[in-house]
């Protein structure tokens, strides 16, 4: 029963990520307001990062026992058994490192887009994309 519940919850997360992706793309394309587009861009980026984190996840071998975080506590450590235990329990670090990079790039793009929105508002007096398209400079 516990195993089935864990499987079910993982499937819920996986499917809701796809739904999230579709919703954020819908908001990005069909919402006319610039700030709403920015919010949806943020949601889109976070969803894709979550996919990457999900790929690197590792199942705990026995669902009934509580999990212990993989931490190298002792320094300098005495024997190799600490390292063996660490490697046998830690998740994949590479997706996390790539997501760290992607988050910072996303933040940089977001800062630039906010500056751009500031300028748009200064020039057009509105952030509604329908109005801005109609004004033509």
């Amino acid at each position: 029963m516990v195993g089935f519940l864990a499987e079910y919850m993982f499937t819920v997360i996986y499917l809701s990520l796809f739904v999230n992706l579709g919703l954020s793309l819908f908001g990005l394309f069909y919402k006319p307001h610039y700030v709403k587009k920015l919010i949806m861009l943020g949601v889109l980026g976070d969803t894709l990062n979550m996919f990457a984190i999900f790929l690197g996840y590792r199942a705990w071998p026995s669902p009934t026992t509580p999990s212990r975080p993989p931490i190298l506590l002792t320094y300098p450590f005495e024997n190799a058994s600490v390292l063996v235990e660490f490697t046998s329990r830690a998740v994949d670090p590479l997706p996390q490192a790539l997501v760290l990079t992607a988050v910072v790039i996303g933040l940089a793009v977001m800062v630039f887009l906010i500056f751009l929105g500031d300028n748009l508002f200064k020039h057009y007096g509105t952030l509604d994309m329908r109005e801005i398209r109609r004004l033509r400079g």
């Binding site: 089935f4 864990a6 499987e7 079910y8 993982f10 499937t11 819920v12 996986y14 499917l15 809701s16 739904v19 999900f54 690197g56 996840y57 590792r58 199942a59 705990w60 071998p61 931490i71 190298l72 320094y75 300098p76 450590f77 190799a80 390292l83 660490f86 490697t87 830690a90 998740v91 994949d92 670090p93 590479l94 996390q96 490192a97 760290l100 990079t101 988050v103 910072v104 790039i105 933040l107 940089a108 793009v109 800062v111 630039f112 906010i114 500056f115 751009l116 500031d118 300028n119």
Partner: protein, 261 residues
């Protein structure tokens, strides 16, 4: 009402589809095993038995970000720098007001006092996150982003001009940011320069001694683990990210003077 109905429909679709998939055995469940690449990273990130391959940092994410794939992160920092510079270029030529904040400006004295107490505490936590990045989850980016919360809180609670009157001007933040980036560049070529001076083979972005190049950053200072270049990269990245965000917030939140064309 219409939104609630559509939300309920979406949630029902997700839950029902997941139940169907889980019942039919097509569900997604993560594996208990890792790819061999991840096992290589985890095995070498802190391993005194492999002195030619290890990074000597128990935090494998920071090890990947600043050692195994350090060049990626250098260019990523450059992208961040250029984005801030592009934002500044969009806001150029705009005169910004600079008035003395009075006691009436901002929120109530209760909020101001609480902010005066919690502001330094946020900074301390941010420095802890940033400078322990090679030991615990965290690092320069995360610590810098945490530290950048403080100027926003102070601007909201005190006044838009509070930071400027305390001497946190955009020019100084730009200088601090450039200092951080220069530090990152110097750290990445420090061992290469040392190798040139000593006549020993060494590489750009070298951290720990490799086979064929015996140079290595000091990774253990009086029993404290520094992980070679990782600590320095985190320190300079902390400076660059926190001052970059502070710069962006100051520019975005300072009101502009009346435009007279």
């Amino acid at each position: 009402m219409k939104r609630v109905v559509s939300l309920a429909v979406l949630v029902t679709i997700v839950l029902g589809m997941s139940l169907l998939l889980a019942l039919s055995g097509q569900s997604f469940y993560p594996s208990e095993n890792l790819r061999w690449l991840a096992i290589v990273y985890l095995n070498t990130t802190y391993n005194p038995y492999l002195p030619d391959f290890t990074v000597r940092s128990p935090e494998s994410v920071t090890a990947i970000v600043w050692d195994y794939r350090g060049l990626d992160t250098l260019y990523e920092t450059t992208v961040f720098y250029l984005a801030i510079i592009a934002g500044l270029a969009l806001g150029r030529g705009v005169k910004r007001l600079n008035q003395k904040p009075t006691d009436e400006s901002g929120l109530s004295p209760i909020v101001k006092t609480v902010t005066k107490i919690t502001g330094p505490m946020i900074l301390a936590v941010a420095a802890s996150i940033g400078l322990h990045g090679h030991l615990t989850p965290g690092g320069g980016f995360q610590g810098g982003a945490t530290a950048a919360v403080v100027p926003v809180v102070f601007i909201v609670v005190f006044s838009s001009f509070y930071l400027l009157w305390k001497g946190v001007s955009s020019q100084r933040m730009l200088t601090l940011r450039s200092a951080g980036l220069i530090g990152i560049g110097l750290t990445s070529i420090s061992l290469f320069l040392a190798g040139l001076l000593l006549g020993l083979p060494s590489y750009v972005f070298q951290n720990i001694a490799k086979a064929g190049s015996p140079l290595s950053m000091p990774y253990d200072v009086h029993g404290a683990l520094l992980s070679g270049t990782l600590w320095w990269f985190n320190l300079f990245e902390f400076l660059a990210v926190s001052s970059g965000f502070t710069l962006a917030f100051i520019i975005l939140m300072t009101p502009e003077a009346e435009e007279k064309w």
